[in-house]
């Protein structure tokens, strides 16, 4: 098999998870295919206990592999590229893509599930993304249905997914909880230099590390630069912060980038606006991008322990 076979599955019990995932893993091992497991802790433990011999499995801790979508794509492309170069004709992965059921916001993972159809297309990859319907929110399930070409069943079938590629927009990004408060800074059509100064001043009193502070300044500067050069005025910049976390949202009246890969993969020098978005997807703790009635908004969160 060549190309990326992007498959989902739905289960509502641990037994059903194993019924789907164990044959998938064992099939790969039997055929001598590189087989990777990048699940959250619970499913990793279930699989370790259920597999008779997992010595040939590569375990990637899910929390590391799925820290950020742009990190996951960069890391997976490295891994898949290396395996293909070494002669692998089929690679299998099973992974838990994070969502609010794991305590992680969804938006950028929804964009990830969409983007990987292109980002992994060049590899001989069979990727299984099973979803626990006990903890997966409805809007996530809807995005999963739109982004996976195939669906695996507990009966052992691998079927075309009728919901795939129906062209509906991905779910609307959800505002950050900090946005319930009054923004500390509001600027309309500011220069990037003014934004950097405002962000630096606002986070001076917080416990953000030096690197986090730089990432927030960089992200704010970059989003405003993009809004001013590619968006439609007015470009509205807002900032919220508590003592350990900063949230920045920039809204313009344009449609946002048309490319579903925007921010998730580095683009070539001729499309270097995409490179800036990609950098903040690699450095910030959360980035959402999407349209709602206010316009097109990019929001980032930096610092803190959680981000919802």
């Amino acid at each position: 098999m060549t190309g990326f076979y992007h498959e989902t599955a739905f289960y509502d019990s641990d037994d059903d998870f194993l019924t789907i995932a164990v044959p998938f893993v064992e099939g790969g091992l039997r055929a001598g295919q590189p087989t990777l497991i990048a699940c959250a802790e619970k499913n990793t433990t279930l699989l370790r206990e259920a597999l008779a011999d997992d010595s040939a499995v590569t375990y990637l801790p899910g929390a590391d592999q799925y820290a950020r979508p742009a990190d996951a794509i960069a890391s997976y492309r490295d891994i898949f590229g290396g395996l293909a170069k070494d002669g692998a004709t089929q690679i299998r992965t099973v992974g838990d893509v994070p969502h609010p059921g794991f305590g992680v916001p969804w938006d950028w993972w929804g964009r990830y599930e969409n983007a990987v159809n292109q980002a992994y297309a060049e590899f001989p990859l069979w990727g299984l993304c099973p979803n626990d319907t006990r903890i997966t929110p409805a809007e996530v399930l809807a995005d999963v249905a739109r982004t996976h070409e195939y669906v695996a069943t507990t009966a052992g079938d691998h079927l075309p997914n009728p919901g795939f590629g129906t062209g509906l927009p991905l779910s609307v990004p959800v505002p950050d909880v900090l946005e319930q408060g009054t923004p500390l800074v509001v600027l309309v059509d500011p220069t990037p230099a003014a934004v950097r100064e405002a962000v630096s001043a606002s986070i001076r009193g917080t416990r953000l590390s030096e690197d986090d502070a730089h990432d927030a300044v960089y992200a704010a500067s970059e989003i405003v630069t993009n809004g001013l050069s590619h968006g439609v005025a007015p470009v509205r910049f807002r900032l919220w912060a508590d003592d350990s976390r900063v949230v920045v949202a920039v809204t313009d009246q344009g449609p946002g980038p048309a490319d579903p890969m925007a921010g998730l993969m580095p683009t070539t020098a001729t499309r270097s606006a995409g490179l800036g978005l990609w950098i903040l997807h690699r450095t910030c703790d959360y980035v959402s991008m999407g349209r709602d009635e206010d316009g097109f908004t990019v929001r980032v969160s930096v610092g803190g322990s959680g981000h919802t």
Partner: protein, 273 residues
């Protein structure tokens, strides 16, 4: 150690400082030039006043110290045309050599060095002469890193465009107003960047870089005073080094620059603290 920064006073500078001074009226230029030169006399430097117009010596009469120094020969008063041997476009290398010879002569005559205050506006009025003068500004800046020569380069705003003022300002370690978002100046082994480089200043950085040359296969950039640089700016530095077959060596106390280098997988860039 040379001064680097933005200032509104021209006194207290070192014997090899290089100052850009855009001005609005000639009285202001003459007053600041007089202060700058009087300060140089205090340091034992020979002073040189370069300007346009007639009766240049009268420009300095208001300052008694200078009036006396003009009389006893510690201050030369020279027309722009004779000092730069052109009324339009400098030949950068020749002009640096001319100042080097004048500095050596000053030292031979018992001075500690040479200090010049010049209204150079007439030498940057066309695109070609501006390009040549920008090259000269960086070359003379490099000369100043090791020799006892200091200069105040003054430019009459009304005769120049804002972008021209920004280009000239960006090539001086010291300037008098925020005319340029960053300053690029010579160090003993490369260049230093101060201030901020973003999308707005991308083009200005490329123009400034054109005047620089790598040293022994390395473009050494002291970024200690660089508050912000975006990936375009970093890629411009990297591209310029590569185009000149040199390794980009970045000096910064902050980890953010090294993180950006690593994220962009610029494996041939050396980051040092």
């Amino acid at each position: 150690m040379r001064t680097s920064g933005v200032t509104d006073v021209v006194v207290g500078l070192n014997p090899n400082d290089h100052l850009c001074w855009p001005f609005d009226d000639f009285a202001e230029f003459r007053a600041r030039a007089a202060e700058f030169l009087a300060d140089g006399l205090q340091l034992g430097q020979r002073a040189c006043y370069v300007a346009r117009g007639d009766d240049l010596a009268t420009h300095l009469e208001a300052e008694p110290v200078l009036a006396e120094a003009v009389r006893d020969g510690r201050v030369d008063v020279v027309s722009l045309e004779s000092r730069y041997r052109t009324s339009t476009t400098v030949t950068p290398e020749e002009q640096v050599e001319a100042y080097a010879e004048a500095t050596r002569a000053a030292v031979r005559d018992g001075f500690t060095g040479l200090r010049v205050a010049a209204d150079a506006t007439a030498l940057v009025l066309s695109p070609g002469s501006l390009d040549a003068f920008c090259r000269y500004e960086h070359l003379i800046d490099r000369y100043m890193t090791t020799e006892p020569f200091s200069a105040m380069c003054a430019y009459h705003r009304a005769e120049l465009s804002e972008p021209a003022i920004a280009r000239l300002s960006s090539l001086h370690p010291v300037n008098n107003a925020r005319c340029a978002p960053f300053r690029l100046h010579a160090t003993e082994d490369g260049i230093a960047l101060h201030g901020e480089v973003d999308g707005v200043s991308r083009e200005l950085l490329s123009l400034a870089l054109r005047n620089t040359a790598p040293n022994q296969g390395a473009l050494r950039v002291d970024a200690t005073g660089l508050r912000f640089i975006d990936h375009h700016g970093l890629l411009a530095l990297h591209g310029y080094a590569r185009a000149n077959a040199a390794t980009l060596v970045l000096r910064s106390q902050r980890s953010s620059l090294a993180r950006l280098v690593s994220l962009l997988e610029l494996d041939d860039v050396e980051c040092v603290r």
